[in-house]
Each structure stands twice: as C-alpha cells, then as structure tokens.
Symmetry: C2
Subunit: 493 residues, 2 copies
Amino acid sequence: MSKGLPKRSEDYSLWYNELVKKADLAENSAVRGCMVIKPYGYSIWEKMQAELDRMFKETGHSNAYFPLFIPKSFLSKEAKHVEGFAKECAVVTHYRLKNAEDGSGVIVDPDAKLDEELIVRPTSETVIWSTYKNWVQSYRDLPLLVNQWANVVRWEMRTRLFLRTTEFLWQEGHTAHATKKEAEVETMQMMNVYAQFAEDFMALPVVRGRKTESERFAGADDTLCIEALMQDGKALQAGTSHFLGQNFAKAFDVKFATKEGGLEYVWGTSWGVSTRLMGALIMAHSDDNGLVLPPKLAPIQVVIIPIYRKDEELDAITEKANEIIAELRKVGVSGKYDNRDTYKPGWKFAEHELKGVPLRIAIGPRDLENGTIEIARRDTLTKEQFELSSEPISDKITALLDEIQTSIYSKAFNFRGEMTTEVNSWDEFKEILEEKGGFLSAHWDGTAETEEKIKDLTKATIRCIPLDRKEEAGVCVYTGQPSTGRVLFAKAY
Amino acid sequence: MSKGLPKRSEDYSLWYNELVKKADLAENSAVRGCMVIKPYGYSIWEKMQAELDRMFKETGHSNAYFPLFIPKSFLSKEAKHVEGFAKECAVVTHYRLKNAEDGSGVIVDPDAKLDEELIVRPTSETVIWSTYKNWVQSYRDLPLLVNQWANVVRWEMRTRLFLRTTEFLWQEGHTAHATKKEAEVETMQMMNVYAQFAEDFMALPVVRGRKTESERFAGADDTLCIEALMQDGKALQAGTSHFLGQNFAKAFDVKFATKEGGLEYVWGTSWGVSTRLMGALIMAHSDDNGLVLPPKLAPIQVVIIPIYRKDEELDAITEKANEIIAELRKVGVSGKYDNRDTYKPGWKFAEHELKGVPLRIAIGPRDLENGTIEIARRDTLTKEQFELSSEPISDKITALLDEIQTSIYSKAFNFRGEMTTEVNSWDEFKEILEEKGGFLSAHWDGTAETEEKIKDLTKATIRCIPLDRKEEAGVCVYTGQPSTGRVLFAKAY
C-alpha cells in the first residue's frame, strides 16, 4: 500500500491527524467533536485497559458503574466543581420526540420537558459522592476503593482525535478514606500506578509532579500528575490523581462514625486516564512510516508474510509459518500469518509498518531450503537473517520484543533529556521556548499572577512542580522574585 | 448477618428487589430510572462480559466504539426505526450552563442551543451505518464484523433494577455482508452464541426462536431470540439477533462493488444482550437464602471461614486455609479466605449464602487434628465432611463446582419442562395461564390481530416461534382458524 503520510518534520500536526486515520485508529464521526474508535485503534485501547485494570485490582480496587446523567443541582453542590465544568456540558432537557404536525419529520416533544435538566457526566464525583453517602456509615465501611470505566462528555470547542474530543472513554477512580493521611497515600499511589503503566507499557517516560493551584482539578485540594513530552517538543498531561480533601464529603454530607465514637467527614480522592493516552502513544514513538508500537501494547506483535511466485511454493511456507505462530503462542506472543492473496508482499510490508507491528518475518522458498527467515524490526527498520537452528525461534522473538520495548523507551527518554533545558533569564526562556521547545526548567515566584502572565506572553504553562525537584534558591525567571526550586514549563497539548 | 429477605413464594417481586439490594448487586440512583451497579454486581457482569467477548472474538468479531450521541435527523432515516425509538429517548438540546443573574444557581444557557438536537443512543444502528458508508467500497471490505460494549438510554416509564432501566449497559454487534445468505447465517450464529452462553455459563436453559412480526426489532426483517423462564413462571427475553435485510444500507446509502463489477446494497445484522441478563441470572436460580450463582460466573467460587475460639488457634487454621487457596488457584478456582475478626462465623455463613458463593469451607481446630474440612454447597444447602487425605482438594472442589453448575442447569431445565404446557382450547389457555403460568404452547392463526387480542385479554404475548417446532396441523386457540404449528405464549418481563 502507499502510505501517503505527510512528513513528521514538515507538518507534525497534519502528520498526526493523517496517521490516526490511515493506520485505522480513529476518525471523526458525523457528530461534532465525537470520534469513532476503529477496530484496530480499539484493540490497542483494550490492551491498555487490561493492564490498567489489572493494576487497579492489584492495588485493591473494584469496578462499579454509576449513572451517565447528573441532575443539574448535583453539579452545583461543590462550588469550584460547577465553575470548572458548567461551561462545557451537554444538557438533556427532554425525553421524547414526536412527529411534526406538518409532516416535516420528528421534532422534540414540548410536552416531554424534564422538571430538572440532566447533565451528561463530564466526570462523576457528584453522582458518586451522592451514592457514597448511603454506603458509608462507620469506619468499618472504609476505605471505599472503586473504579469505573465509562464514557464522559465535555463540550470542547476545538477537538482533535484522541487528544481532545467531546466524548471520550476513560476510567475514573473514586475512593473514600477515614483519614487525611490515607487519602494522600492513595493519591500518590495511583499517580505512581499511572507512571509505572506509562513507562513499563507505553514506553513513555514521564515526570511525576504536582499541579500549581490554578491548574488543579475543579474541587481538589491537590492534583498530582504525570507529564510526558511529545516528539514535537510539546508536553502532554497523561494522567492525574486528585486529593479531594473533605470537599465532596461536605458537599454531599458523607460522614462516618469513627472507632472512637465520633462523627467525621470522609476524605476523598479521584484519578483518571483516558483515550488521550492513545494520542500520547502515537505521538511519542511514531515516524514517517507510520505507527511505532511498544510490543507490550501491540495487538499483533509479529506478522509473518510469505514471499512466493508460484502457488505450489505456498504450502511449505504456510506450514513453516503456522509452526512459528504456534511456537510463539506458547510463550504468549501474538503472531499473525498474513497470507492474503489479494495483496503483494511489498504492499503488506508497508501496511504493517503503518500499523506499527513490532516484528515482521518474511519467508520465501530459499529460506526454506536454507533453514532461515528474515526478521525486520519496525522501530529501527533494520533486517536480519535468522538461522532457525541457532536457537529456539520463541527465544529469539521474545528477546527482540524485549529489546524493542527497552529501546523505544530509551529513545524517548534520551529525547526528553535533550529537550529539557534549565533556563535562568527571561530572554533565555523565550528563546529556548521558540527555537527548541521541550521542557523548560525554571524558577518561578509561586504566584498565580506570574504563571498567568507567562502563559499570556508565551503560551507556555507550568506543567508541574516535579516531585523530585531539588531545593535550590533562585529568582523567578520573569519577575526576579525569590524562588526555592524550579518548575517545568512547556507548551502543551 | 440477618438476611431479612422476604420469602420468594410470598412476594416474588419484592423478594427480587430486596435480593438485588441486599446482595450488593445494584441500587436505584438519584437519577430517575438509572441504577448504580455496585462492585459485587459489577464483578459478576465482568465475568459475563469476559466470556461473551471471548465468544465474539472466536467468531471473528472485533470491538470498536461509536459516538454516544445521534443527530436527530439520523434517527429518522429508517422509518420503522424512528417510530420504535422516538417515544423514549433522552434529547440533548444545549451545551452549556451559566450562573443565573439573580444568583439562584446555575441555569441552562439559552445562548448555547444546538442547531440540531442530539439523541442519547437508544441503540446504534443509525450512527454505525452512517459510518459504514465510508468503510465499505468493495466486496474486499466485507464482511464487517464489529461489536461495541456501551451504555444506552431508553426513557422507560416503569423501571426495575437490571430488568428495565433508563440507562443500561450492553453489547451491540453490527455486521455488514455481501450476500443475504451470509447475513442470515450471521444472525443465526449469534443467536446460537447467546444460547450457548446462557446455557453453559448462566446455567439457564433457553428456547431458541423467532419473534412474530409485531415483536420484531424496529428496522429488522427478522428477529431471532432466546427466551428463558423465571421461577415465578414469567418469561424473559434474554438476547436478540436481528437480520436487517438492506434496510439500513438503503437508509444510509451503503453500497459495494461486487466481484463481478456491479454495485449493490450491503446486507446487515445487529445483535445484543444487556445487563438485563443479570436480572435473569438472579431470578432463575436464587432462593429465600439469597443468590445462587452458577460457579462459572461466580466472582468468588469458594470461601473459607475459620472457626475458632482462641486467637492462638487461628494461626494453624490460616496456614491450612492459605494452602488450600493456593492449591485452588493452580487449577483456576477463585478462593477467598474470610478471616475478618469483626464478624462471627454464623454472620459470615449468612453473608456468603446471600451473595451466592457456590462452596463454603469451614475449618476448626478439630478439623486440623482430624485432617478434615467441612464443605457446604450453596445450591443444595448440604454439608459434608471431607478427608483431606482421600484425594487432592483441587480435584474435590473442581468436581463439586462442575456438579453444581450441572445441577443448577438441570433444576432450571426440569422446572421449565414442568412449566411448559400444551393447551388446546381458549378456556384451557386462560386457566393454565392464571393458575400455573409458564410457557403455553398453543396454535395461533398467524395474524397480528389475534396476537394483539390475546395480549389485551390476558397480558400473555407470543414469546417466540420455536425454531425446532414440529409441523403440526391445528386450530388457533383463540379464533379456531387453521395453524401449522405451535408458538410459545407467556406473560413476560
């Protein structure tokens, strides 16, 4: 197939959009801002879900399901929360259509107006905390460790496939605890789970950090986050974990009887990652030939393509291919034998490169004679002849997949290193931001005014205050006021 | 714990509602008609999902995701479809809230009215076929075998947990084929997948049948279904598979270039099961002590409870319990050791009975001395002493779980047999329906008028025309007109 991808270096944004569509990951739907996640894209998301779900369960969480709709009055119960979400929500006002009397089609039935409008959930804190009120009476009922896989809707004006869509898929964890300390530990634990998932599975190095007050989740006392860097030097927030204090417990009157016989408000957290991670995955590793997938998240890890001229050559190749697929299955590697006779090998090579299959094996008649196969790596686009007698094929392939996983991570890690610059003056800040991009590590005076001013002037925002930052006396890069440590600035998705 | 369940024989409906709540399966939410699926209930749904998803993939289907919202105009494109769904749909008319000027809270912003209203999907044929138009050009693109796990909304006026809720979770398969024959085979295949799932996993015998024209899905040419019988003698439709003909292809102009160079409309199917299956599962097997779960869908298959008076007895019991749990894990059995010291054994026994854990093991100090354990079956409420030296515990437990799975199925199968009555006169029809209930196998003249009339008079509907019915000349039980075979009537959920 002809890939017809724009060059990443020439138009990163167009390259991304076209790649998402051409690799069959997602497309825009007829509904404004809503995407269709296509089967291939969805199969990657399913792999992400499976790993995350396992990690949530291993840390003691259970899944549940809460309503799609939120009564308008619920949203208003937490003051900052409603302020954060009111401007971008889909509102259900009626529950019936009817035929227009003039025969012009169906119209909304004015007699079927709801007494109270319903909001399509932009996030579920309110409806969940209204439920927790009934679930929590005593310290014995705590902690509540619940997660939900769901769709949510935020009425975004400018949307982009995976990165910012009106409807998106996500998981949202909502936990309730007896003590502040426990809730804080949970907030940190889940941020670390996200970081581990990003690094170990997505091969995506992330900075663990804390949001500034103005970038906090609406209704949280503290927001932890993981921040990643894309290949164009822009940052992407890949997951957040919020310490909610007692804000939602107070808004929904969730109290518990303590061991000592008192009555106290519960402490809460919430945390989420979404299909946005698909965008991060694509942008972090892919190239002009298409998608580059970390083996641990690739739906197909190895594709085998027969190379033959005469049909009678095919049988022996097929036999060998099936043998290899079976060997690989035994060690948990997913292989696919692409024996479609409607496409030529070259076309198939291009297609599987576009779709990011980590390893490609080609087998021809001469290979059968020689006891060899050709193995090509997607990440480096290198090929090698492999002698089947030299070691078990499953050992070879698993070693290569591990190497690719590590290598993709290292490449992204080194790139981020190169693209993280300490800047110490305002001129330097502007110059690096414009000419190089990436993370700018700079002193900041700690005020929301300066943060806002820098954003207005440069579009760079404080991505986070890294959790591992050094205490270091300095002066704010913009105001010259004193600072005790550096924060990370970047332009961001 | 005190179960406080009403007796099933005295008030079946109340028994069901209370059981769903007390066994921590689901509860009503603050949003009219929408339920909260609680962690324990959701863990059963997850097991159902996993098995169904595996079966869909084994039959060649992939998952994808389509938008929650459907433009109003889309719904109208297929005439019967809109007629079927317009009366019960949630309509989004605005996309923003704002603060009321009088300070009374947030209100819908009248300036944020949508040009075209959006319907929260009641089912996704329209939005999916509008997408398929772009996915299908040639016979090479067919078949399209896609499934979606999603939430849908139908504005039901009278709701009941799991059985009929405004929002529910389901899967909907949507396939497109080159020939009528292929689409028909797919329709039948998926009905059979549902039947196999119901019988093998839910231990629920079902009748495979065809809906009458008036009970068909809105927009289908043919609807196949599986029908189950609940313990109160009412029927429950447990899954449907629709042959859509070319109706949606024509409504959304989905054509393909044939191998021979022609241009033809595509043939379609759709099929779905929902969280309604949870209702069926609960109502089919449970009793006055609570839930009875088939082992294959039980989140916890074996619970071990220590029986001790002095704390120093506990250590040895715990060691033995952990040993057993580890043995069971090796053979894929999920065990839980319930060593909570906040509850007494009797309370725990009652709780695990209520929650339908198939097997309970009790271990006390004397058991340790004798090398025995006590094993209790949830379905029969019988106990036995088991000598650990007699055979491996994992063999014993897997054999018992298999036996329970089979036994629950047989019980339901026999019950259905007893509750299926051939009736040959109108008086008999009315008498059996009122005094016994269950399935009434009767001749029907094949007209929608008679079907409607019988429904008005008795509330019994034709559940299906069984696929395996015998050709048999007879006369309609109501009109006396000729008939060629029996159909199944019942009152239904």
